[in-house]
């Protein structure tokens, strides 16, 4: 019985040892090579971490082959990895490290500078002498025997409401579950060449790692910069013979709008998954029509559920006016739509999408209050403890069983694939940076921009905002438009009328 993702990986290595596991530009590493380096790193971590088990270890590296080695090496040491984005401002990284307190950070000399102030031990992967490191397979395996399948596989940070992200803990078993169902439904067999575009801090990247470990699929690491240069991106996919991509719609919408699929053919591309945002049907149809031999699937699931909990395989051409369904629940996952009275919604009735099953995260790391608020007792079960995750997403079930996404209960948005709590932007601007008296951030959907309305005695320039905010937030969280108002509109409770501002921002387009 397998209780750890590496149990799968070691079987895969036996099967596919000398083939390329990961490619990046002109570099590659085989499955056997990856195991060797990951075991060496794991063995070294055993001594450096003085026997810590089941602790988070941060990785602060750009998306390159050493990142994959680091993630697997950490798993080999019987700990779990927390990937961080090297573009995240120092202050935010500091907040994360302070909350999570990882036992170490794996980075390189170049990026270590940004970690100068941390008390967490910093380990430099680029200064290891791989020929000198020992590889103690037996010690690593023996230690791993002590773990169980509900121990963490990874920790993913997601926007909170106070300037410190929430760390979502995902266990091994939830990934086994997702892989088993995906393999059955989509017939993965290890022949896939995956065009890996997601940042290492996305759960999509963790899924791609699992595809590598469980199935022996090959990862082609695509530089984040390519997202800005769609023509280059498509040429890279074509030249690398990529057969499977799992992307967020933003980039696919750009490609469709630029008409690039007419100009660059993708004959190897067999399967396209997308998730994380609503894919406008008009742009989706461009992909659907240009790539008739490719299968498309819309997946849905917040980070608190391992990867995704529903999927919709597009089997017939959708009407342009119809939004794509988020589909049906993954096998062994139950999606419950609950209305305001906490009762199950009827067909067509809108309610909050709640999930139960193995796929649920273990909770937020070092954050019992937020965990308790989001992971709650299933109100339909009064007989024994059973958790559901309340997504905060509103949805309804169609007659044909497909679930349709309607929107959010709160001010959470998805922007360029990142999940952003708009309240966090407001909180930091008002309370931490004290830039303005009051502010309200809303999302302009057509232009995909965050708009900040603010009330302040003095007017601030865009530059003032950007200069201050770039120290606190990663680029994707910085508003694009700043609007000063004499007074922000308030509703009858005296609260800032977010809905009104949101309507206003979206009408102006």
């Amino acid at each position: 019985m397998k209780s750890h993702m590496l149990d799968y990986f070691e079987e895969t290595v036996k099967r596919r040892g000398n083939t390329a596991a990961v490619r990046h530009h002109d570099q590659e590493i085989t499955f056997a090579g990856l195991q060797e380096k990951a075991e060496k790193l794991g063995t070294w971590l055993l001594s450096v971490l003085e026997g810590s088990v089941n602790t988070p270890v941060a990785v602060f590296l750009p998306k390159e082959i050493p990142t994959v080695i680091a993630d697997l090496g950490i798993l080999y040491s019987s700990n779990f990895f927390m990937n961080l984005d090297v573009k995240t401002p120092k202050e935010r990284i500091g907040n994360i490290l302070e909350l999570v307190k990882p036992s170490a950070v794996v980075t390189s000399r170049k990026y270590a500078k940004a970690l100068a102030d941390t008390a967490v031990p910093v380990l430099l992967i680029d200064e290891l002498d791989w020929t000198q490191l020992s590889q103690d397979h037996d010690a690593l395996s023996a230690r791993r025997q002590e773990l169980i399948d509900t121990d963490p596989f990874c920790l993913i940070n997601t926007s909170g409401s106070t300037g410190t992200p929430k760390g979502v803990v995902l266990n091994h078993r939830s990934f086994f579950d997702f892989m088993t169902v995906s393999n059955e439904r989509f017939g993965f067999d290890g022949s896939e060449i995956i065009g890996s575009l997601s940042p290492v801090v996305f759960d999509i990247y963790d899924f791609e790692l699992c595809m590598l470990m469980v199935n022996g699929s090959q990862l082609v690491l695509l530089d984040a910069m390519l997202a800005a240069f769609p023509a280059r991106l498509l040429e890279t996919l074509r030249d690398a013979e990529v057969s499977f991509i799992f992307w967020v719609p933003s980039i696919m919408v750009n490609i469709a709008n630029m008409g690039l699929l007419d100009k660059i053919a993708l004959p190897s591309l067999r399967l396209v998954w997308f998730a994380g945002e609503v894919f406008p049907t008009k742009q989706f149809l461009v992909w659907y029509d240009k790539l008739p031999d490719t299968t498309f699937a819309n997946l849905y699931g917040p980070i608190e559920i391992t990867l995704d909990c529903t999927y919709y395989v597009v089997e017939q051409r959708p009407e342009e006016s119809e939004p794509l369904p988020i589909g049906i629940p993954y096998h062994n996952t139950d999606v419950i739509l609950l209305n305001d009275q906490n009762q199950k919604c009827a067909v067509g009735e809108e309610g909050e999408l709640c999930v139960r099953g193995t796929s649920l995260a273990m909770g937020y790391y070092n954050n019992p209050e937020k965990t308790a608020a989001a992971f709650t007792q299933n109100p339909l079960n009064t007989s024994y403890p059973e958790l559901i995750y309340r997504t905060g997403d509103m949805a309804y079930r169609r007659e044909d069983g497909n679930i349709m996404f309607k929107g959010r209960k709160d001010s959470l948005i998805k922007h360029m694939g990142y999940r952003i709590e708009l309240g966090e932007i407001e909180h930091v601007i008002e309370n931490d940076l004290k830039l303005v008296k009051y502010c309200c951030a809303v999302y302009q959907y057509a232009r995909k921009e965050i708009v900040l309305y603010y009330q302040n005695d003095a007017e601030l320039t865009d530059k003032d905002f950007r200069t201050a905010l770039s120290k606190a937030f990663p680029a994707y969280m910085i508003p694009a438009v700043y609007v000063r108002m004499e007074e922000l509109p308030r509703n009858t409770n005296g609260k800032i009328d977010r809905l009104l501002l949101k309507t206003q921002a979206n009408e102006e387009a």
């Binding site: 573009k87 984040a224 910069m225 390519l226 997202a227 800005a228 240069f229 769609p230 023509a231 280059r232 750009n254 490609i255 630029m258 008409g259 690039l260 100009k263 360029m416 232009r447 865009d462 530059k463 950007r466 200069t467 770039s470 680029a475 994707y476 694009a480």
Partner: protein, 78 residues
């Protein structure tokens, strides 16, 4: 036009000195979010539509390259 381009860049990334770089993309002054914002700023300010095939790193490497890109896009639009 160079002044106007520098102004756009300065607005996007006030923390960097763009006059000090030989290659904005390679030097990491513009990331993928900035490129997308810059494209929409150019399209709005100069009333042009930039061809998808022209959105390549070389055309965003310097003020001169961006100027040439705007010129090319204008030429195609008329």
């Amino acid at each position: 036009m160079k002044e106007a381009i520098l102004e756009m860049l300065d607005e996007l990334r006030p923390e960097f000195d763009f006059t000090d770089s030989d290659d904005f993309v390679m030097d990491g002054l513009l990331d993928s979010f900035d490129i997308i914002s810059l494209i929409s700023m150019i399209e709005e300010n100069y009333d042009v539509k930039i061809d998808g095939l022209d959105i390549v790193p070389e055309n965003f490497s310097s003020v001169e390259a961006i100027e040439a890109l705007i010129g090319k896009s204008k030429g195609e639009a008329t």
